[in-house]
Symmetry: C2
Subunit: 476 residues, 2 copies
């Protein structure tokens, strides 16, 4: 019976891509518009983003950063100042050529990222060691001219934060890069319940203009990896290109050392693909727009609605609480809020009122329990914590199950032929091996984990001596 | 002595425009970049915007609205769907013509406002009377290709919120338009301490595509008016152009009735020009990034810094509290935080510690008082409220002082020749009179106030019968 209500969602195992599209649109997260590759983030999706943003913004401020806002447009000549950077981004920027009815003398690029704007500003405001560090962050929209797009995962325009910092020394910049990677990992694991692998990108995969890129990588339900957030160490490359110098304590001119780090709406895609099931979304309580949905049962009976609204009023003080007192059938409502991934459902009808209780149903396990009125708040609080923890544990378990090792190329290829997930394998450090692997298997290096684990001594591709262990995967 | 420190700020009465530029840059609100007409909003300016945004966002949500996010780009054909709208905006939009290295088949406009995107979406999601009202809001950046720009007041790109709502009836839409104007007036008066005149725009001054535009108008220190925020009633004009229809309770197809309303970073410009003085900014406590700045006196003496930091820790729980323990001279610090408009300064030195007191100095009046340690919190709380109220009262008084009346054209012209401010005068309702007045005096109609006050029976320009009383002014 209940099954019928979700017939509109394709089964995950049948067609994961279609399941994803069904879920993001039918759970009212996004809608399409006539703007190619762009999405409309609907109230339910945006409330989710606001919760994630709120948690991350708090951590960004607690770690000493200040928010600023830079212009949307970048003059072409400014974008060209750092060679690797422009090479990396030129193929994917949108160009403004006309303002009103006039043609511009210089094209303006719609920011794909804002390194060059921050650099130009830093050159203006940094003069002495007293001005350092500068720890800035910006929340904004950016545009990348992607050919193939999917809501949240890859869109022409997306929302993000980009941190940009300047430091007196290379060590301090490196420390900052690692600190912000840790903040990202914390938000992913503690708030979104997404387990991550922290590590470095290879040279081939690093950010255009960076000396070093750190990443957090996550495994989706289908065994493909998703780069969830990145943190870059620039050294003094941009500083030299832009002339950002300070006078040190000894009166000598020095270049600053920089970082940048970004976290985007893409993480919503990760959350969906890590926790969702055939009934729809499952949203971790800490970021859920609605933690608890109250559904009055037999609401036409005297006293039920009054009681339900009283509960709503009381519980709203502690939890993000919704109520659906519409005239739709209970079965429709159960399925609707399951599809929307609301962590807890509270049912209350005439019998429950008589017995002084309510019914709580968990979205993650489907478990149902009867809870006395006077214990409701405590029990809801405990259950939300349990759900949060359970979602992380389940995802972590699945990630470990889907993490394999390979010590030679045959084994490597075979594993990816038969299974999907992470493969841990040694790598000699040569881009040629990465390219060969990508061409022959579609697999990319995801990261070199910080722990420095080793599983053999030879490169899984060429067999030469290898020091670095890499997480490999097919990726979004 | 103190005077010397602020010699870099031009006197307001000498050159108000230069005073404004000095204040916004020297108080670290903004910086310029190589992007023409755009500004960098620096940490101090952005923290101010975050406080304003936070207060307004709360009220927008309390009044039942939901936040969403629409695309940055609008295809040219979509923008053209409502005739008056495109006519009004075409001259001031930026056009994207290339993505990566390819020329686009259709130009994309960078949103100057998002009516058409909301309309396209509403057509998709509204079907029945049960879907109404739809009360959406978005926080975003928009671009208008302005020729002459000034930080906050008129920039190529600015930040704002834009509300867009759909209703079953014209009356409901009108009610919404008025409700949101009231919310704007509340934020302006209660948070920014800016007194406003609420009223309607004339047809000539209304929004492109609107049936009716409401506005809140404020008077700046130099007697020029500033349109501080607007709220538009669209009737069913956009609904007809986009085919947004719903089935009513009787099964009949009806067009929806719409509104839109916007509040921008421009309000920061208003706040500066209403409250500022020759020493710099004065920021109302409710939106001040720092409400209270602690300055340790003779900080090299034992115990002073420890004591100051303890105070900071304690007061931070209740107030946005800063401390400047740098080795700069007290005189420099006094002037720096006066320039930045911090509402209260707390000084504490060895003698104060001995006497168990601290010194509080108000930014608005310069008044200084000694307050016993155990009464500090209460006194700070009271003073911040007093400052907030005093700023509003002073601004209101100034506005009333600078509001004149005129019953004939000679009197009208003479008043604007000799004085600056609002002139209340009757108007026949003809655009010709508005145009004549603008051409001959540079004065524009600001609004027809909601109260319907009358001061004579003849149009101040043509002498014909007149029903409407208009606030006239030179404006930003």
């Amino acid at each position: 019976m209940a099954k019928e209500f979700v017939k509109d969602i394709t089964s995950m195992d049948e067609d994961f891509a279609q399941w994803y599209t069904d879920v993001v649109t039918k759970a009212d997260l996004v809608d399409y518009s006539s703007v190619r590759g762009s999405m409309i983030i609907r109230p339910y999706g945006y409330a989710l983003w606001e919760n994630i943003k709120g948690a991350l913004d708090r951590r960004i401020k607690e770690t000493g950063h200040e928010n600023v806002y830079m212009p949307l447009f970048i003059p072409e000549s400014l974008l060209e100042k750092e060679k690797d950077h422009i090479e990396g981004f030129a193929p994917e920027v949108a160009w403004v050529t006309h303002g009103g009815s006039e043609e511009l003398t210089e094209r303006l690029c719609v920011r794909p990222t804002s390194e060059v704007l921050f650099c130009e500003h830093y050159k203006n405001i940094i003069h002495s060691f007293r001005d350092l560090p500068k720890l800035y962050n910006q929340w904004s929209n950016v545009v990348r001219w992607e050919k193939t797009t999917r809501p949240f995962l890859r869109t022409l325009e997306f929302l993000w934060q980009e941190g940009h910092t300047c430091h007196a020394t290379d060590e301090e910049a490196l420390e900052e890069t690692e600190k912000m990677l840790d903040v990202y990992a914390e938000i992913a694991e503690k708030y979104l319940a997404i387990p991550v692998i922290k590590g470095q990108k290879t040279d081939k995969e690093k950010f255009a203009g960076a000396k070093l890129t750190y990443t957090i990588e996550s495994l989706m339900h289908d065994g493909k990896a998703l780069q969830t957030a990145t943190s870059h160490h620039f050294g003094d490359g941009f500083a030299k290109a832009f002339g950002i110098q300070y006078t040190d304590k000894d009166g000598k001119l020095q270049y600053v050392h920089q970082t940048s780090w970004g976290f985007t709406t893409r993480v919503i895609g990760a959350m969906i693909m890590v926790h969702g099931d055939d009934r729809g979304l499952i949203i971790p309580p800490k970021v859920a727009p609605t933690e608890l949905m109250i559904l009055p049962i037999a609401q036409h009976k005297e006293g039920v609605l009054d009681h339900a609204y009283e509960l709503k009023e009381k519980l709203s003080a502690k939890f993000r609480t919704g109520i659906d007192a519409s005239d739709k059938k209970p079965g429709w409502k159960f399925n609707e809020y399951e599809m929307k991934g609301v962590p807890l459902r509270l049912e209350v009808g005439p019998k429950d009122i008589e017995k002084g209780q309510a019914v709580l149903v968990r979205r993650d396990t489907g478990e149902k329990e009867f809870v006395p009125q006077d214990q409701l708040e405590t029990r809801i609080s405990d259950l939300l914590e349990e759900i949060q923890q359970n979602l992380f544990n389940k995802a972590k378990e699945k990630q470990l199950e889907k993490t394999y090792t390979a010590t030679n190329y045959e084994e490597f290829k075979q594993t990816f032929d038969q299974k999907s997930g992470f493969v841990k394998a040694m790598w000699c450090g040569e881009t040629a091996c990465e390219e060969k692997i990508k061409e022959e298997t579609g697999v990319t290096s995801r990261c070199i984990p910080n722990e420095g684990e080793k599983i053999s001594v030879e490169c899984v591709c060429c067999g030469k001596e290898a020091e670095k262990m890499v997480y490999w995967a097919k990726a979004y």
